[in-house]
Amino acid sequence: MVVEAALVGSFPRPFSVGRLMSRYKDGKIDPETYEEKLEEELVNVLRKIADSNVSLVPFNMFLWDDLFEPFASSFEGIERGGLYRFLDNNFYYRIPVVKGRIKHKDATLTMLKTVKSIIRRSGIKVRIKAAIPGPYTFLKMCENKYYSSEEELVTDIAGALGEEARMLRDSGVSFVEIHEPLLVSENLDKELLEKAYETIVSKISRGLWLQTYFGSISHVLEELSKWRIGVIGVDVVEAPEQLEKILSFEEKWGVGLGAVNSRSTKIEKVKQLRMLVKKTAEKFKDVYLTPNAMMDFIPVSIAYAKIRRMGLVIGGLKNE
């Protein structure tokens, strides 16, 4: 049985890191200084998280501009386009523009190796997972200027992302965390979704964490049960009602319990979080207490406060 606190997606990029990146981009600092300072910042953040008793984090942390960046920059056939709103947030991503046949090229593996080596050197006790966009969400949030059908497009996206997932898993991450916020959509195209996940699941047989947020996935649980999902991340902040449905579902998933609000500055109460984790742990063997989504939408100081709260809850439960 696992009861653990984990982050999902990313951690808010501290202002000092943003400034560092801008200065590097503008040629005001050399690559060596940049790497050195970036490593210091990363170690500082990871240490604080680990000290808070949160032990599973996505390795990319604050390194990407948005969820799509490394994939849209690296995969053949895709370029980064204009700024578009990320779901319903005041947060924007550069839209992946598909201009040719999509082929896999290493997008995140080099970065993973660097981060792993930094963690090893600094002796920080965290396990890492790798976040990638889900093929369905990628399909719906990109601009297609090449493929004649969504079916062809999603097959190639899933192929490339699946290959990336396989390589990441082989490199020793605990989970490949696939972000599918659009699973909460009421107009879900279930055929396309199945098509995409046949491909993904054929590439990665275990360690798949499916992350959803900003709504309920109650309407798609049957479909999800067909795939070998290790952990399913659900948002019980914005769709608390789905917890009962998930608890009543006979599955062997682990649950990523998204009970910490990543869009609010109000700090959750330990008692309430504890109750939710305990309730979920009665039914599911593996329970991960997480924010309901990536934490980019809140200030770093608030993110730390919430992480400490998560750690307190898990620490308390482990002592019981």
Binding site: R13, F15, Y84, F91
Partner: protein
């Protein structure tokens, strides 16, 4: 009271403009206590003179003050309305951050926020019409953390009261044209009913020209509400999306003008004049030219100043070329006081 007739396809800006390097330095010096508030005010005034000059030299018909005194569009208002507090900045995209405010107590109008900005802009611009910008109640509510009010709706309506007082203060000061910035408007479909109501409440009893700027969202979402929206112009971003969705302009009600975004403010590549002409030709085919204004997609503040200047010049050059073939009167704006 007089009427100002503008040229066909009048050019304007959305609002913000890059701060001169020396102003950024002065702000840093003020933050570290090395210069006085009075010195900083002088620097702000000088910066407004400079950026109005940039716009007028580029040929812009309706300039703004470049929002030189504002660090950010929500933060500036939140700093001047009682009931807000701030944490550390959060990222919006890339390495662009803002200090997202949090409402922790009842909101309170503490007096005019932008009237002095208007008076100074009016005193330094040679153009008969200048544009003032105000962040709208819905966007302030959506881009703030709500730690006090029971719902976001309640917060937005409290902000409507405050924005209404500010608009009336600007009207009293003689401002002819105010643009309400509501970039968040298209974000939450389920909130649109009351969001539009909140904007209408903010403009109630105000008789000067009111525009509204929306960007980076699905415009089709707001189309059903436009008929009831009490603004006379919509300024929308189109260049960033490669003029995709342009067909929706056909559905803009006849009593409303369009401020058409023709240069991308998040891309440092300066458009070619011909590209801009192609964009404008597309929109001219879809709606009467008398209802069109031409502007950048959004505020220019994140571009290097030289790039912003070049983009405005390209935009004006494109319009001047088109004015040779498109004849007729442009729109007119009522001036509350003689210029």
């Amino acid at each position: 009271m007089s009427e100002c007739r503008l040229p066909i396809l009048p050019t304007s800006v959305i609002g913000s403009y890059p701060r001169p390097t020396w102003l950024r330095r002065m702000i840093r010096l003020r933050k570290s206590g090395k210069i006085s508030e009075e010195h900083l005010k002088e620097a702000f005034d000088d910066a407004v003179v400079s950026v109005v000059r940039d716009q007028e030299d580029a040929g812009i018909d309706i300039p703004s003050d470049g929002e030189q005194r504002r660090d950010e569009m929500v933060e500036y208002f939140a700093e001047r309305i009682g009931g807000f507090r701030f944490y550390d900045p959060i990222r919006v995209w890339g390495n662009a951050y803002f200090r997202k405010p949090a409402v922790y107590a009842p909101l309170q109008y503490k007096g005019s926020i932008t009237v002095e900005e208007y008076r100074f802009l009016r005193s330094v611009s040679t153009r008969p019409v200048v544009k003032m910008t105000i962040t709208g109640p819905y966007t302030i509510a959506d881009w703030s953390f709500n730690e006090y009010y029971a719902t976001k709706e309640e917060l937005a309506f409290e902000l409507s009261k405050i924005i209404n007082m500010e608009l009336k203060a600007l009207e009293d000061a003689g401002a002819p044209y105010v643009q309400i910035d509501e970039p968040a408007l298209t974000t939450h479909l389920k909130e649109l009913d009351w969001a539009v109501e909140a904007i209408n409440k903010a403009v109630r009893g105000v008789s000067i020209k009111i525009g509204m700027h929306v960007c980076y969202g699905e415009y089709s979402r707001i189309l059903p509400y436009l008929e009831n929206l009490r603004v006379s112009q919509l300024a929308l971003e189109f260049a960033n999306r490669g003029f995709k969705d342009i067909e929706i302009v056909k559905k803009i009600p006849e009593d409303k003008e369009l401020g058409f975004g023709v240069v991308d403010v998040h891309n440092r590549r300066v458009e070619r004049v011909e590209e801009v002409i192609v964009g404008i030709r597309k929109v001219v085919e879809l709606m009467p030219v008398e209802r069109l204004y031409i502007n950048p997609d959004c505020g220019l503040k994140l571009l290097p100043r030289e790039t912003a200047r070049e983009k405005m010049k390209v935009m004006v050059e494109a319009v001047r070329k088109l004015r040779k073939e498109i004849r007729g009167d442009g729109p007119s704006i009522r001036l509350p006081q003689s210029f």
